[in-house]
Symmetry: C2
Subunit: 372 residues, 2 copies
């Protein structure tokens, strides 16, 4: 399909494969409107524009997420208020968000981190009560369902990633944006493509005054800044193909994650989040390491077994980036506890069963050793 | 190469093909530093950040160009001052820029429109005299030389496009940024990729506090806003391959353009810009239609011969976008005259010799008819 698209796509961008990918994605997700973008960060920058942030507006975002979930909103002028995570699920909850709401709150970002779908019904009823815009960051949770409904379709906007590290990738970079509001859907093509639009009046000759118009996307009477974040045709062609495999990949990854989790059930030093349902796709496999053993565990796994675990999603309020913006202070006990003791196992789709067995065996031996 | 990259690239972004593409590009262009980006508009947004625009700063840009040459700078806070074009070359000149310089001028953008290299030696000495930053928009002029030096390497920053419509394309979308200043080169990877950077201090364990740091790129003591505009590995692999063909494609397009121009030499109603040197790659083939015949010419070409010419690059000050920013007023006689009588012939690389002959024949017959 990719090679076919390379040979036949004309033009190589904004063409038939884009339309097909968006249509298939709408169908797969059951979303009203879907727009392919160059990457999920660009999708979140677009979301930040759609939020129409005014001076003093606050946006609630968990500190335990990737930086792209947050910085587009700061760039657009919002004050970030950090939400804590739930200690069991490691994502935000209606309770952790509720504690952050003030009369300045305009929107909230819900990343379905690690591939677990956050409690969207609870969060949506909270958002509805307070009139807040909800952005779902579905970068890691494509195909995950919460109460039989796809993650990304609860909030006002869902942003998906097809980055190289994700369960499906459109040649390394790519993303998708879904929205419910048709007023938003109407202006996203302009937002995505330099403010290009059709002329609103009749013209005697189509080429006068020029082939196409350039204007500001306007929402609620105010103008938004466009950008260029189009996704090429070949990437879209790959996306169409991979969409057919998402469910299978998610099931495989979940089965394998549960296999690892259950194989290590006798080691209470490792606390996994075990979820045998379509609410978790185990995009990543992470655990909390008890008893202050994390660093020793990581060191021995790497040095004795050549297995490199990593520590991910440093609370954003600890980074110089957010500190320089004045978003340093936050009370996030569960975030801090989890991050300071977490480990993320190598868990990409290409791992063989043998390699997984080796990870389990090495983890057991390491913990046996550390228990002594 | 593209298929090989799809099979072997690991990871599928920010890997070995990116480094190879950037190295080959540096070599081809003779530039110190080159950075692949997701598209040329993103490259220009990056350039706008590097300009560090303060309130009141002015940027000189020709109105006769694509909107992406201009709006990133307005977005970054600049006041745009429109420069006129030279009536012969249809690009800006040192003279047309000089007329726009004020004590508030901070930078200028020089698009090598249609593939003709503007007078960079003259423009650079003007910029040097006034201490201005120079951005070359090389979207249409990859491989074009001015006084034996590549377009894009005169100014402080060169922005190239591999969009679908360009002479070479990285699967539909893509771009490159070259810079001379190593201070700029140091921060572009951070600007391009969410502010990701290495920690500046020694760490006992590489995973503490996290795998990588996130900070603001800092230039002259001030922070710049990052974005995500990475180009995927497969696109980069295609870029490496196509780079080998640029010179040949440029020569072919120039030869064919000169063939058309010479074949229509007996029709003074069409004024082409004839340039038989490596200073023009004829990315596009445009002409001014004299005697108010443009619209009639376009209509007859389309209706009688099925040949759709277009009218391109409406002076940006005429678009609602720029009018709403307050950049409506400009005195641009050459721009207005050229745009209001210009025609752009179908002139993509895939045209057969037969199709070119048909364009010539149809143009002759159309002008013969209109002369009656």
């Amino acid at each position: 399909m990719a090679v076919e698209a390379m040979r036949t796509a004309a033009p190589l961008t904004q063409g038939v494969y884009l339309r097909t990918f968006e249509a298939k994605f709408r169908e797969y997700i059951s979303a009203e409107h879907a727009f392919a973008v160059s990457n999920a960060t660009a999708g979140l920058e677009l979301a930040a524009q759609l939020c129409q942030i005014d001076l003093g507006d606050e946006i609630i975002i968990p500190a335990h997420t990737f930086t792209s979930s947050a910085y587009p909103f700061a760039k657009a002028g919002a004050r970030i208020v950090w939400a804590d995570i739930d200690p069991t699920t490691r994502v935000v909850s209606a309770e952790s968000i509720a504690r952050c709401i003030s009369r300045n709150t305009r929107a909230l970002v819900v990343p379905h981190l690690y591939g677990f779908g956050a409690d969207m019904p609870g969060i949506m009823s909270l958002a509805f009560k307070h009139g807040l815009i909800v952005i779902e960051d579905v970068a890691q949770a494509l195909g995950v369902k919460i109460d039989h409904q796809m993650a990304g379709t609860f909030g006002d906007i869902g942003v998906y990633s097809f980055h190289s590290h994700k369960n499906i990738t459109t040649l390394g970079e790519g993303g998708m944006v879904t929205v419910r509001d048709s007023k938003w859907a109407e202006i996203i093509p302009m937002l995505r493509h330099n403010g290009h639009c059709a002329y609103l009046y009749e013209r005697q000759d189509y080429w006068i005054p020029a082939m196409g118009n350039v204007d500001f996307p306007v929402l609620n009477g105010k103008k938004l800044w466009p950008m260029n974040c189009c996704l090429g045709e070949v990437e879209c062609a790959v996306g169409v193909k991979l969409l057919e495999r998402v469910n299978k990949m998610n099931t495989q990854k979940r089965d394998r994650a549960i296999m690892v989790i259950d194989a290590l059930a006798n080691y209470p030093e490792l606390i996994f989040h075990r979820e045998v349902s379509e609410r978790h796709n185990y995009h990543l496999l992470v655990a909390q390491v008890q008893d202050g053993l994390r660093d020793a565990f990581m060191r021995r796994m790497a040095n004795h077994y050549g297995i490199q675990c990593v520590v991910q999603y440093c609370p954003l309020n600890r980074y110089p980036f957010y500190q320089k913006l004045g978003f340093e202070v936050a009370e996030l006990p569960h975030t801090d506890t989890f991050f300071d003791s977490m480990v993320s196992f190598p868990f990409h789709h290409m791992l063989t069963d043998n390699e997984l067995d080796e990870i389990v065996a090495a983890s057991r031996e390491t913990l046996d050793f550390l228990r002594r």
